[in-house]
Symmetry: C2
């Protein structure tokens, strides 16, 4: 059962000679057994599994090049795979072939403290990177929740809780090392903070979901750990009050580092799952970065706005443990939601609308969800106009699946009607292919297809993604 | 005489039937006379002129589509033209054809105050936009100095004095309306602040210098006019002291809105041209944006850093007239430089390096310039690692041209050796084509060419730019 059934094209098993080639390249890092293949074919969310024919674990760009050349010679697809935390079926190998697991490419290659950048292999995960940077007073802010790999985050143009202040992966990447479908090794840019040198290959690769090139190294902008970090939490009687607080904060130019909304349903789930006792009302989680004075001023201003919009107590704190508690609860929100029902799975949606339409969009969505026959908490990165609903459904109940699908259709249509996008940060993958056409028109998507055909004429890189058959 | 001689391919005059088609489309907005053609074939800087065969002034996207279809039918090139302020020969019609002047597409189509965005026709200039926005408490920060059109700024991925705080055109554009080489009308994105919907067509078009699509509308992010704006100016005994002040400021995370360096030679030129009496030493111009308290704190911190690095009096002011004086002087720097010698022209260079290498790069450049036989002031957007030298040369002296060329070669090589870029914000145009290959390698540029061929198979959109013959 699936919103976007895995359209597995008929295919033949891998030729023995090709398997021997892979074994020669990867030795015992070639996996043909069902367990490893199944693990790389499963989805975190509601997509049907589809097995790759083989899984290889690469450790160097040179191995990726050799793999690409071997696959190209016999026209076998390649699906790059990081932490497997994407949620639109982005890594599901719907055409089989080889899944290239990059998680063992986990070396931090250089940290340039003076330049505020670093270069990492694509399989480095964001939490490990931040642990390694901490001693140098640096951090990498982009935080999609899951402990994803940097290569995966680049591939889906991820963002998350800090994007309101620090931007998305689009903004935080200086350069990529990629392997093309012809097995060429390209560095898309140098390390300068800005450049006007020809087409923006870096941005073309970011968000292309492995369909144009395989990212093997990522050069990231870094930031200094702020002098002061404070967090705050505030509950609201009405959803509109919470959203208006955020919109007014942004409009005043107050540089929030993070601001997340969790509705009453999500707060109940969080309390249960994380053993917390927050009021079960629509709630905002905040984080403020800056000098001591600047943070104090920001907290006071936002606190006043919250009060004006019917917020309850504005509980702020400078304590790292308070902050950790808050963000741990936020990061577990997806698992907390799915834990609301035994045996349920979570289907996270993802829309983003212009800021002035956000309250209206969330309100209408909330009303639509009132009729739902399953829990459907709302949470989101409201400072960007981006929010999610998590449909907590029984995977064995087709009626619930159909109902979720209809709710999602209405949600995305609502966002498009407000000149928003069908995906703020999860990507197109399998789940949003038809919406991409609705959002940008046939001509826009045709321009993308033209680029895909030109760069990957045999359609071997993550085939079946982004573009509908 | 030219650093990059206009490689005018042999061509035939426009066919009479095609001219009649153009006249039918544009009436008296079709220009065949020498004066208008010459005006569109000249360069602001050191590039040889090359005449278009015709100039048309469009007023609507529909006219651009009709023009593209007419030109495609007979394979006549089209060169889009905004304010003509680009400096790498980006609009020089080296293959002749039709120059499409977009300056009459100067309507502000919508301002969405609540969403902090606006949509303008491509020919709107940035100063006119800011005048129109002021009453609503909004502004558009990107400021390349010249009063360029927004379409032109998008095409060259412009940035300038505010980029250290607000980013470049890459960051400030939400969406573009473009006409493709096949005459299709595409909107590259919706108005959401972020999106993960397929390939980033918006970023692919930004910086593509009219070679992939003709930009007819631009949707821009806007910002609220800050509560407090202060400016400051400070002279330094040494160039290193000035650069170190900036680098330390950035490293401390102090959110400067603008920071510009002008060396002793440039300050002398500015004083003469703008009738000012600044000390003729390396000087930093600053601007601070924020709340009253935040700006006060920033000014104090940066003032202290300047003192530590041998800065003189840190003259700061909240007065708009002081600020206007400062930025007028900065904006006239190019004209001030060329005015240093009667009959001279200015050749502005443009490199950008990782922040930690900036002092070294500027210092080595300054030493190299000491031997120059003409004035060569340095100025730049130091907060981004980006700076320019202006070679003030006699256009009729081939030896000076050759000398400037050699200095420029050494400058760009120095920047590349430091993992920087051959152009921070001016683009490739005619002047940096070979450097693009040195910067990204044959494979990187080949990927760009593949995209160009796929989207513009007849090579009709601004041919001869970005890619060397």
């Amino acid at each position: 059962m699936s919103a976007a059934p895995a359209r597995a094209a008929p295919r033949t098993p891998l030729a023995p000679a090709f398997v021997e080639t892979l074994r020669g390249l990867f030795g015992d890092r070639l996996h043909l057994g069902e367990a490893v293949r199944a693990q790389h074919g499963a989805s975190e969310t509601h997509f049907a599994a589809a097995m790759p024919d083989a899984v290889v674990f690469a450790r160097a760009t040179e191995e990726v090049i050799a793999l690409v050349k071997a696959c190209a010679a016999v026209e076998v697809p390649i699906v790059p795979f990081g932490a497997g935390t994407s949620v639109e079926g982005n890594t599901t190998p719907v055409r089989g072939g080889v899944t290239l697991d990059l998680s063992e490419m986990n070396q931090i290659l250089s940290v340039n403290r003076e330049d505020f950048d670093c270069t990492v292999q694509a399989g480095v995960r964001r939490e490990e990177l931040n642990l390694a940077l901490r001693d140098q007073g640096l951090f990498f802010p982009i935080d999609p929740g899951a402990n994803a790999t940097l290569g995966g985050m680049a591939s889906t143009r991820a963002s998350g809780t800090n994007a309101v202040r620090y931007g998305t992966m689009r903004d935080a990447i200086l350069s990529l090392r990629i392997v093309t479908p012809h097995g060429r090794d390209i560095r898309t840019a140098r390390r300068a903070r800005k450049s006007a040198a020809g087409y923006d290959l870096t941005r073309l690769m970011i968000g292309s979901e492995g369909t144009l090139g395989i990212i093997t190294e990522v050069t990231l902008r870094l930031w200094g750990i702020p002098e002061q970090i404070s967090s705050a939490v505030c509950s609201f009687e009405t959803l509109a009050g919470a959203v208006d607080t955020v919109v007014q904060t942004i409009q005043l130019g107050i540089p929030l580092a993070r601001v997340e909304i969790l509705d009453d349903v999500q707060m109940k789930a969080v309390n249960q799952y994380s053993k917390l006792d927050y009021p079960e009302l629509t709630t905002l989680f905040f984080e403020f970065h800056g000098s001591e004075h600047a943070v104090k001023e920001q907290v006071a201003m936002v606190g006043a706005l919250a009060r004006d919009n019917g917020g309850g107590e504005f509980r702020w704190s400078n304590l790292p443990e308070e902050r950790a508690k808050l963000w741990k609860a936020r990061h577990q929100a997806f698992y907390a939601a799915t834990a609301m029902r035994k045996g349920a799975i979570g289907w996270p949606t993802d829309v983003c609308v212009p800021l002035g339409r956000l309250a209206e969009c969330i309100n209408e969505t909330k009303q639509d969800l009132e009729k739902a026959s399953f829990p459907a908490p709302i949470l989101g990165h409201v400072g960007d106009g981006n929010f999610h609903v998590i449909f907590v459904i029984d995977p064995n109940n087709p009626a619930e699946h159909k109902e979720a699908e209809a709710l999602n259709q209405r949600l995305v249509q609502r966002a498009l009607d407000m000149d928003g996008t069908c995906t703020g940060e999860h990507g197109i993958g399998l789940g949003k292919q038809h919406w991409l056409v609705r959002e940008l028109g046939e001509d826009g998507v045709d321009m993308m297809r033209t680029i895909k055909r030109a760069l990957d004429p045999k359609n071997l890189f993550n085939p079946g993604k982004i573009f509908a058959d």
